[in-house]
Symmetry: C2
Subunit: 401 residues, 2 copies
Amino acid sequence: MAFSRVARSGLRRTGGTFGSYSNEGDVVLCEGVSIHRNPLPSLQNAKAARDFSYISSFRKIDHLNMQSRGIRVTPQYQSATAERIVEESESEFDEPRYPGLEATKPGEKPRVVVLGTGWAACRFMKGLDTRIYDIVCVSPRNHMVFTPLLASTCVGTLEFRSVVEPVNRIQSALATSPNSYFYMASCFSVDTDKHEVYCETISNGGLPHEPYQFKVAYDKLVIAAGSEPLTFGIKGVQEHAFFLREVNHAQEIRKKLLLNLMLSENPGISEEEKKRLLHCVVIGGGPTGVEFSGELSDFIMRDVRDRYTHVKDYVKVTLIEANEILSSFDVSLRQYATNHLTKSGVGLMRGVVKEVHPKNIVLNDGTNVPYGLLVWSTGVGPSQFVKSLDLPKAPWWKDWY
Amino acid sequence: MAFSRVARSGLRRTGGTFGSYSNEGDVVLCEGVSIHRNPLPSLQNAKAARDFSYISSFRKIDHLNMQSRGIRVTPQYQSATAERIVEESESEFDEPRYPGLEATKPGEKPRVVVLGTGWAACRFMKGLDTRIYDIVCVSPRNHMVFTPLLASTCVGTLEFRSVVEPVNRIQSALATSPNSYFYMASCFSVDTDKHEVYCETISNGGLPHEPYQFKVAYDKLVIAAGSEPLTFGIKGVQEHAFFLREVNHAQEIRKKLLLNLMLSENPGISEEEKKRLLHCVVIGGGPTGVEFSGELSDFIMRDVRDRYTHVKDYVKVTLIEANEILSSFDVSLRQYATNHLTKSGVGLMRGVVKEVHPKNIVLNDGTNVPYGLLVWSTGVGPSQFVKSLDLPKAPWWKDWY
């Protein structure tokens, strides 16, 4: 698909610079690198004031962020967590005790704690001199995803394993160095006063007590915990749409797509129902949406025609965008993409989504669009965790609040 | 791993014969082919008596079988199903109406309905002359699994996609021929009188009504719907152990293994707890258990030592078997396997499991074995669906009841 070449060459143009970091304070906040947006300006005075207390944000455990990182949180787990936190807050309100890594002693290597395993975090860790620093990385995801190629895995062009790289291969010190660690956990709070972060491991039902929380003391802290998909508060998006940011999202999309192809062959399914089941709707004409639509149409033209001949004429892809597709790209690339998509049979539609229902979406102008698969890729915004941090943020972030 | 060669050569010895079929009646019952057991003897008089009624087995929808085929059934779904069936049974007790494929007309090709997509079903469909017959295959699984290599996928030696083959590539008529179909569904009842099978599609929340049930009329019927893992009624096996029969089982085992490796690195985990988390216990010394233990020890020696150095000394594999391992193999092969496993650090233990708890198993002699991962491979028996069929079965099946 031509668009992956576009994305790759866009990447190459950044000349190996995957973000800009500032470590004038002890806390560095760095954005997940995007090739289509300016990097975050350097933060001055990032150290928080003395009255900052982590207790204030203690209750805001970041389950949303866990989900966006590919960890599914069951309702049971959420309520258990909530109960436990209330208990602890009551019984040991002043000073909950956590196991964890205590502060480094004089003479030991300083410890750099990195939150996240996205582009920014991985590039940073790769470049860090481990003769000078110990690294502790905390993330609910143990690998980096090469996101520009993620769309290709949904239809089997690429294998899932081909687009990920384990974080301890990117920075081998995490696996081998005696005082460097990777912790598969979500950070839920930062105390810049005590120089500690507070984390909760993801659950698998096997730890001594759950939720299992611990702390890590840091000498330098890098916050690169990633963003969240923007839904603009539209009803039904979280429940019914698929995002495309993690490997498990791609797996779910693939499963749904194949299941719909299979189910539409069932005897007794009406023509209208078949059309709905096999209507793939993509919301958002950014690079992800365009790339995914292209991959889908390739899949339909190459694989579906041969392997699902009974239903091949019912499959349709529609890309819905409020403005123009690939609006941040050069006009010639936009035109190329539009022509290519149209030629491949992808329907381009102008519209703004008002509501998402289990089997159809309603646009602002009242149009009803039935769908079998809905992929939502309208860009990203700051996560609940980053919003909860009492640290100065760049002024343009305010647009997102 | 040497054992996969053993398994492969064992396979080759069968000389391409993947089972024995008898179609003297209209119903053929064929066993999932196992290279370690005799094929099912031909069935005479397989046609059921006139008083056979599918209503009698109507309530026995085979959820267990769905689970063993890689489809997870949520409790909500199960209860919804149960309610619906009761409703239908009451309101239209005499004759529930299903959409479906009606009987073939004179002059049309006769329709062969095949239940299942295992070794037997796939080999049978591959060899069927589609110029003479139309084929309808019904199975909740759209692919065949090359089971002898499944153990290798748990530790990443092989990719999951390398050990499966889509059923419509094995028999392309299913995808391309106008009157041949693959239906992703579970058969829950057979009416040999009317020559019809009754099926329920797997749920994805997108069909006109759910559960979606339909019927398929047949001229010839092949029942090759597969077996189920034997648990001997031991408490806790279904809840806490992993089986190793489907690709999703292998995926779950791999996920659990990596998660345990990661969680054991968490700060504050006691030595004892680390040992438990990283203790992999395999129950059953048949080909699956032995192959899996071997793959695990390879994984530990090659990957874990490099990539999880902090916890590498805690990882241990124990294979528990009541008698001798690989008891159906030649004594020289048994000896070779025993030596190889011992040399690779796999602990061989004699014992019979009494109870399985979330974090430990108890043997008959009272021994307590803590585990982090438990894989259960003690052989297979007939499924609930096959048991529910009112058809004559071979006498040696009675051992299983």
